[in-house]
């Protein structure tokens, strides 16, 4: 079915899928007993197996399987009854055996969902080694040289592939953060994009809006933050749209996005052939998750973000958006619940609003509130003080500024800086003075001009330096005027 109108005028919609590699926090590698490496000297975490020496054989790490099952269950996937390892064959210096042991047509799990995005598959595989550009060793036969460090080679990976359900760059980043929060909650990985324990590639294509066919996709690789992911996808969408509107065709390619320049450059194909000649790994036997393995994995899962959001909405009465925000960014949610637990008098909804708006605004970008100077108990007390009308909203914000800068106790800060709400007597006196000094305004109000009351309220607020509650002041003034 051909869409109406020329290419240049049609509306296009993005079709985005993500491919994520998660490094697991096991003690040892996927197929050998070498301890995982964290910045050790090169080639000090290797053995004949992960170096691919002749005659060596892989042996599957039980904990990696357990973590893989945890991820699969966290993503609500169907587990394969018997999943099989396959060899993916190609030549590259970071691949010591000349093949990667991975999974092909019978992966560990399929058909899951997280948030609004469906999961296509989850499988286990081993990481490649690291190729480092040779520094002091200079050149080799007059050409560039690289040096291979096999420490990382063999680290257990879980690969997660989504369906192309994502419809915008922003959605990709937001969903990516949800995935990261979910994985972080399980504890199976550090999921740190900068360190490489979480790697996200995006498959991006566009199609005429409303169509169900798929356009040619380009693959964006190795963006090391969700912000860069979003910008990279935006850039690629723009690039594809420009091509298509010109009447040309998008070519399938692999691209690298440079966040400094905003440029998308094609990556040379890593392998010398694209035919991986997959066949079942003869040195390994299938993984058939037993009831015991599955229930152990399920039992090891903590409350996951989606469930947490539901609970916050139901038990704390939070609006859905706020509940999601607190659940999907685990640090915020943890902080919120700690604050809630610290002070039984605070209103959960008010506290949630203070956490997601006022506190967040005073934190660095993506900063963990637990690392700030604002103790959860302190914030809870502050919000409770507002709720008890012992301090005005605006005064409380000033207190929060102080807490954010230097920590402390909100009661003490409010007292030291005289920010507490003014008492009834004090306010009555200030109101009397204001009425005297603003006789004209009083006349106008009596004459029916309600707005004139603002001047009198303002005068009271100025004199009390905001320590009075604006609504209360207005009420008092009206009472006096009408009395």
């Amino acid at each position: 079915m051909t869409p109406e109108g020329p290419a240049a005028e049609r509306r296009y919609e993005p079709v985005i899928g993500l491919e994520i590699h998660v490094q697991l926090r096991t003690r040892t590698k996927m197929f050998c007993g070498c301890a995982l490496s964290f910045g050790e000297e090169p080639n000090t975490r290797t053995c004949p197996i992960c170096l691919g020496h002749p005659g060596t054989l892989p042996a599957v790490n039980a904990e990696a399987v357990h973590f893989g099952l945890m991820i699969a269950l966290a993503l609500e996937c169907d587990l394969a009854e018997r999943s099989v390892f396959h060899r993916k064959n190609y030549f590259y210096p970071d691949l010591p055996k000349g093949y990667q042991i991975s999974q092909y047509d019978v992966p560990l799990a399929r058909n899951g969902v997280l948030g609004d995005v469906r999961i296509h598959r989850v499988h286990l595989e081993e990481d490649a080694a690291k190729l480092v550009h040779a520094g002091s060793s200079g050149r080799l036969h007059g050409a560039e040289a690289s040096v291979v460090d096999f420490n990382r080679g063999g680290t257990p990976l879980v690969e997660i592939v989504t369906e192309p359900d994502i419809r915008s760059a922003a959605e990709a980043a937001e969903w990516g953060r949800l995935l990261r929060a979910t994985l972080r909650a399980t504890g199976v990985s550090d999921v740190n994009m900068e360190e490489g324990s979480l790697r996200v590639d995006a498959n991006v294509s566009i199609r005429p809006a409303g169509e169900s066919t798929y356009g040619t996709k380009a693959e964006l690789k190795n963006m090391n933050s969700f912000r860069f992911l979003e910008r990279g996808i935006e850039a690629e969408l723009a690039r594809q749209e420009a091509i298509v509107r010109d009447g040309a065709e998008v070519e399938q390619e692999t691209l690298h996005f440079d966040p400094q320049t905003g440029a998308l450059t094609p990556l040379r194909s890593k392998e010398y052939a694209h035919d991986y000649r997959y066949f079942p790994e003869p040195d390994l036997v299938p993984v058939a998750p037993t009831e015991e393995m599955v229930s152990r994995a399920r039992g090891a899962l903590p409350e996951l973000p989606a469930a947490r959001a539901g609970r916050l909405e139901a038990d704390r009465g939070l609006p859905p958006e706020t509940a999601r925000l607190l659940a999907f960014r685990a640090e915020l949610g943890d902080y919120y619940e700690a604050a809630l637990a610290a002070d039984g008098d605070v209103d959960p909804r008010a506290l949630a609003s203070w956490v997601t708006n006022d506190l967040q605004a005073r934190l660095g970008d993506g900063e963990d509130p637990a690392r700030s100077s604002v103790e959860p108990a302190a914030l809870a007390r502050l919000v409770a003080m507002v709720g008890e009308r012992r301090i005005s909203q605006s005064a409380a914000k000033e207190v929060l500024d102080v807490l954010a800068a230097e920590g402390g106790d909100p009661e003490a800060i409010a007292s030291e800086r005289s920010l507490e709400m003014a008492g009834g007597d004090e306010i009555a006196q200030v109101v009397e003075r204001a009425l005297e000094q603003n006789a004209d305004a009083v006349e106008q109000v009596r004459a029916g001009n309600q707005k004139a009351i603002g001047a009198i309220v303002g005068a009271v607020m100025r004199e009390t330096k905001g320590r009075a509650d604006g609504g209360e002041v207005q009420r008092l003034i009206r009472e006096r005027i009408e009395a």
Binding site: P54, G55, L57, P93, G98, R277, F279
Partner: protein, 472 residues
């Protein structure tokens, strides 16, 4: 001493325990013979002094020749290939470790077809091995060096590997005993891989008792090999000299036209001997076995093409080429691999490639299923299957090197068993025109004790004088 060197491994162990000879003396005597080897059976002979065996060591210090396919720490282990020239592994194969722990020190590494690919030991990167029965003839392959060494008395016993017949066929051509165990019975860790789902390690020995003794100390699950299994019962040293009640099946597909007359005569005599010993003989069909060669020569090269991808001049072995990375891969492999290895890598790559996988690899795996089913059905009616090991006796050097297909086709009696993963033994049945003829017995998985018992009884009855002119 020379009478001691006539003894089987088990008898030599007895002699050591009886104080007739010390392990060090025995080792020195064999080492001298190995060093004087004119058959090119050895690629390396041990130079140091072997460790003194424990007093209760079952193998009592009787030295063992080890096929060059096994990694032995610090010792050249090259799979007889130039691409691994100079390679000394940082670890030792489990099978070798178990045997040395049982008291059998490594005497030397034996020559073989490169990466176990061949049936004549003419594909070695270090020259062919000669058959001690006639030096103008091949010893068989790929474990030709191990077979020749044992047959010529250069070693009391040896281990080799069998993927399509590489223990049994050289045992047959050299007039000794060779056993391929059930797939998974012996750990493959440290065996340089050729075809992972077919390769097995096994003994090459002067008699059936020695094969049983070595097997006993090799079997058992190894945590380094996920495909290895525990043997359900201990391996027994056979004693029975009758075959009463044992039913033997003779498959027409493997005992028909292709078998040359002299071999047929020896085989028919063996059949008659079985009956004399009280065994039953009947015909059983293995209808898919004629397709064994086709399936094998798809599956084995396919797995080999992947297993041999690691030989790239980066981490070990010589490196050739001084251009870009691709030229290093290409030069190293072009110069390091022999023609047969290259042929099989190409075949295997083709069979796995996109668009051809189902037609070749996929189909070959299904043929494999049918072959296994054929055996399963046969073993409902008989206990063991009886065939000649090889359709011919040892052929001349150079006779078949120009026709690889002809070389492949001669494996048709031995190839079906590894495809089904079942064990099989070859023992000498007699001579044809002065050259040995092997008789093969195969049984269901884990039937090694029954196979060894039957082979022993046959061996006693046949009384093969299994020594060629043994001046090395």
């Amino acid at each position: 001493m020379s009478e001691l060197l006539e003894l089987s491994g088990a008898r030599a162990a007895d002699a050591v325990r009886a104080g007739e000879v010390s392990p060090a003396e025995l080792f020195a005597a064999y080492r001298e013979r190995a060093r004087a080897d004119e058959l090119n059976a050895f690629l390396w002979v041990a130079d140091g002094e072997p460790a003194e065996p424990r007093p209760d060591a079952p193998l009592a210090g009787v030295p063992l020749a080890v096929k060059d396919l096994f990694c032995v720490e610090g010792v050249p282990s090259m799979a007889a290939s130039r691409i691994l020239e100079g390679y000394r592994p940082p670890y030792t194969a489990t099978a070798v470790r178990r045997l040395t722990a049982a008291g059998a020190p490594v005497l030397g590494k034996t020559n073989m077809d490169e990466f176990a690919m061949g049936s004549s030991n003419e594909n070695s990167g270090f020259g062919p091995v000669r058959n001690p029965w006639d030096r103008e003839r091949v010893p068989g392959g790929s474990s030709g060096g191990s077979a020749a060494a044992v047959a010529a008395g250069l070693a009391p016993w040896a281990i080799g590997t069998d993927t399509g017949g590489s223990i049994r066929q050289p045992a047959s051509l050299c007039g000794i005993v060779g056993l391929k165990p059930t797939y998974g019975a012996v750990s493959r860790y440290g065996m340089i891989a050729f075809a992972s789902s077919l390769d097995q390690c096994g003994p090459l020995t002067r008699d059936v008792t020695d094969a049983a003794l070595l097997l006993r100390h090799m079997v058992g699950r190894d945590h380094c090999d996920s495909t290895s299994l525990d043997f359900p019962e201990p391996i027994e040293l056979p004693t029975a000299d009758r075959l009463d009640g044992v039913r033997f099946g003779v498959p027409p597909e493997l005992t028909g036209e292709g078998v040359e007359p002299g071999v047929r005569q020896v085989f028919d005599a063996a059949v008659a001997t079985v009956e004399e010993l009280g065994g039953g003989i009947e015909e059983v069909e293995l209808p898919h076995s004629p397709h064994g060669i086709s399936a094998y020569y798809v599956l084995a090269p396919a797995e080999a093409s992947s297993n041999l991808a690691r030989y790239d001049g980066v981490r070990f072995g010589p490196r050739e080429g001084d251009g870009d990375l691709l030229s290093i891969y290409e030069e190293t492999r072009a110069r390091g691999f022999g023609d047969e290895v290259k042929r099989r890598i190409m075949l295997g790559t083709y069979a796995l490639s996109s668009g051809y996988y189902e037609a070749y690899y996929g189909r070959a795996q299904r043929v494999r299923t049918k072959i296994a089913e054929d055996f399963a059905r046969a073993f409902e009616r008989v206990d063991l299957i009886l065939t000649p090991t090889s359709p011919t006796v040892a052929f001349r050097l150079g006779e078949r090197t120009g026709d690889p297909l002809a070389m492949y086709l001669s494996d048709y009696c031995t190839v079906p068993m590894p495809l089904a993963g079942i064990p099989a033994i070859s023992l000498p049945g007699g001579l044809s025109e002065g050259l040995p003829v092997g008789i093969q017995l195969a049984g269901p998985a884990f039937s090694e004790n029954r196979i060894l018992a039957a082979a022993y009884a046959l061996e006693q009855a046949i009384g093969f004088e299994g020594r060629p002119f043994d001046d090395p």
